[in-house]
Symmetry: D2
Subunit: 304 residues, 4 copies
């Protein structure tokens, strides 16, 4: 299959769709991004890769990075991690706080904010230097020695992160947060501040497309079983209150971020990343969703 | 791959697991089923099939039949069906009524009770003889001319179906139910009363494993795109508040019923049905879940 | 205190306030009422009474009648009535269904719809001819032999009463409704269809102002203790999600109806009824609330 | 009416009731209180007062102090205070977080934790030395120059106050908290640490029984209208999820605290305080509720 020509078709088709999305504006660093940016890059597990548009420009991956922190925590903690966070979709935002209370401070899954905060707490308790060691892991997975935190973004997130502070305090009241609240929040906001390009992000997600191994290397980063389970979680929980819509229209496990990025994988086949800053009402990239829908339609390949 | 020997292994392994499930007892017909029953049958899209245990004994498929009514309604109504029912997972039972109200009578997906009632309303409005025509469709899909309703079960469901009556009245108050309430409920309770064996059910689900076609026949029953989308809905919404768990442990689209049955598909490969009447706390077959988990572990095949 | 002159002052002051309310329109009979109607009537326990405006024109008392059915059921059933319905305020509408489910079908109080339906069920099960016997009781309390149901209103309510049907079915699923659902709903809709004038309604409410006795008569209709308790329930639960606002601004126990009426009492002193069809956003009479606020401000008499 | 002999009767009757309550244990200082303590004291607006049992022993008034902070904030801020906090009852604990989110960070009333935190924020922003000035106000109202904070209790509350930190952060995310979060929480925890005896507390509450004046003094501390409105709020919101029950059984405006105290007033007549550390399931003093119920039964005096 000629992915380069398919991506080119997608590029021109998406360009004709009016962008109904709105760029995230709760922190200045996200608000000042050019709304017209669009990039897409695909890495096949066999080593081929190709891209279009602004696929070599770095953007704030935001919540997409939660897949990396989950991966590291899962590797360190094993299956006992699921005593502190579930694997079920979360429903609407209005339910989220009630559900967290109803379920005694156990978040529904590790990809919503509350769950990612529990994951941050786990890493914070297990690692000597959480920020550096998480970065080392992401550098290992992505093969990119230069990936780093954007301190300005991290600081901005912190200054407007009252809702996250509410979540972490609520979970602490239930005993499901065990380390210093300020430290966890700082770590979490750094995690969300990571910047990568579509080319880099899709390469890093090959791990999940390739059953836990980096293509071309022998050793497992994570076991095949864990890679499958992380894919399952991305499938059911990766898109806030739009996980079903993404499964329905696109049909691939993936994760979105408010920076306008989406990373997705076709297990056994490829990893893909797309970036367009305008978000739909559910907080996922408007054109990014369209581009991925076109990809699985044109390739006639989805997991379903 | 030798599926027969894999199923045999599963049979003996599942037999050693103590059954923590409880047989559904809200209607007498379900309560009197022998809790020790266990059957499993798998149909490959290439025509091979095999089974174990009580796979040729009929049981009440209950909510599994909602996949058939959804299929027929989707075929008749097209994409406009999604104006009246969503494709998102539903969260906990406590949220369900609140969400239905919050979302103005639009159920989260067509596989929860409220959504299946809207589907029943759509069919009821479009078909001249809803009960007969739905049965004709299920007979066509399954290739089984004798599949039928169990009138005793349908009547029992009706006599204890006050919660469903509440749902349908609530949706009617929002204008999302348009036909006679008594008629819709009667139709819905008949739908849930259908009885099939694991062998029959897995054969009927080949449609979803085979991209909308019955293996060996040329014409599409439903389009490839629709088959994929129904699989996506089963994946995210097919197991009440345990859809994530099923994706995580099993990794196949599927649908369970309170009769203890589960039907699942590996798109492009096979359809499988399992039956064990004991239900776990979330209302899904305890041993059925275990058996399917063993299946994807042993075959090393899941969609993830 | 010269109540007649106070009412006259209120009349002219309220006339100058622009009516921000909207007449209820969910049934035709309520929608066609003249929005400009305004009446108020006050009966003192010592026998004096006075009124202004349209205080001798009958209107649909709607939910105000729930106080009468509660009174009769409380008298018949005694304190065991509180096993089936609570005495707590109900919070917002969104919570109501969730709360009813969370609290296993026990409504928060007897003045919200779900609670009034349980009361209707209790009366329906205890009385030989519920509609006639309830009417007899209201005629006794009010001293009005002609008070009756408006069959057109009752029928209209029934035809649009799907939400009430949802509530009664949900409670039935929890076992807190015990009689025929159609019969209970019919009885309930008749209850809401009663028509009275402000003069009549205030006279009927003297029972609650006068500790359970009709002024001038010796026998207790209900005990002093029960009269106090019904007043307490009106105080905390009589105004949907605006009970606190009414306590805060007016400071009297009372009950409103979507017909635009409000009846209130100052225990030991007087009963008052006001009618103005325009409803505020919470479903209570906009000008009626203002008039009662003026009454307790001008008389410097409230229970607080 | 001979209140002393009524209180003595209550004393002996309450002594015979087995205490079903449990002493609050979330902080060590509350847990170590003697569960057998019982005191009650009543001050009439005409200057008489009497008491029984441990009515001269200081206890932690906890949430009862929220009435004082509300009073001071209301006096300083006027009616604009109601833009930031409502006057409606709050429903169950599960709803509280959802409601706070649904209502955009505006708490339902000033006597639940979230509302009292908004009041603390208002005072914190308006006062130069919040802790000292609030104490001055309470000393003025109570006529007790020695009332003070218990620093050990305040510190303990802080160390286990994660749920309150969650609330304040959530409201900050909606813009309804405007000052330093640490400072507000510290101020709030000090407020809750105040200790008084039943004799002192009932004397301090005379302000609300006496329409805003301290009996025997000329000047208004707060206007008659404000005193009435605070009484109305106590009536509908003073007992967590048991406000209706208290209105129903006791029929007086009041406020409880987890230290086992309850203060209540009969407007125009008296103020009363009772203390018994064992709490019922809703968090209100088990024997305190009984004692007040006996008081209004025996005196045949309630606001209803």
């Amino acid at each position: 299959m000629n992915f380069q020509s398919i991506l080119s078709e997608i590029d021109s088709e998406v360009a004709r769709i009016p962008d109904e999305g709105k760029v995230a504006s709760y922190i200045p660093e996200l608000a000042k991004v050019d709304a017209g940016k669009f990039g897409m890059h695909l890495w096949h597990v066999d080593g081929d890769h190709c891209g279009i548009g602004d696929d070599r420009e770095a953007f704030s991956v935001q919540s997409i990075a939660k897949v990396f922190s989950l991966t590291l925590a899962y590797e360190l903690e094993g299956e006992s991690i699921w005593k502190r966070v579930g694997v079920e979709p979360s429903g609407t935002r209005f339910n989220s706080l009630m559900q967290l209370e109803f379920e005694q401070g156990i978040p529904r899954n590790p990809l919503i904010n509350s769950g990612a905060l529990v994951i941050a707490d786990i890493l914070y308790g297990r690692l000597n230097d959480p920020r550096r060691e998480l970065l080392d892991f992401i550098r290992l997975v992505s093969g990119l020695p230069d990936v780093g935190y954007n301190e300005t973004v991290a600081l901005s997130e912190k200054q407007s992160g009252f809702r996250n502070a509410a979540l972490v305090n609520l979970m602490r009241s239930f005993g499901n947060i065990r380390n210093d609240i300020e430290g966890i929040l700082d770590f979490y906001f750094h995690l969300c501040s990571i910047e990568m390009t579509c080319a880099e992000l899709s390469k890093a997600f090959l791990l999940y497309a390739n059953h836990g191994k980096i293509p071309g290397r022998e050793e497992e980063i994570i076991s095949k079983s864990k890679a499958k389970r992380i894919n399952a979680i991305m499938q059911t929980c990766g898109f806030y209150d739009e996980a079903g819509e993404f499964a329905f229209k696109v049909g691939l496990p993936g994760k979105s971020g408010v920076g306008g990025g989406i990373a997705a994988v076709h297990p056994g086949k490829y990893a893909v990343a797309v970036w367009s800053p305008g978000l739909n009402k559910k907080g996922n990239s408007f054109k990014g969703m369209k581009a991925l829908e076109l990809l699985t339609t044109k390739t006639e390949l989805s997991i379903f």
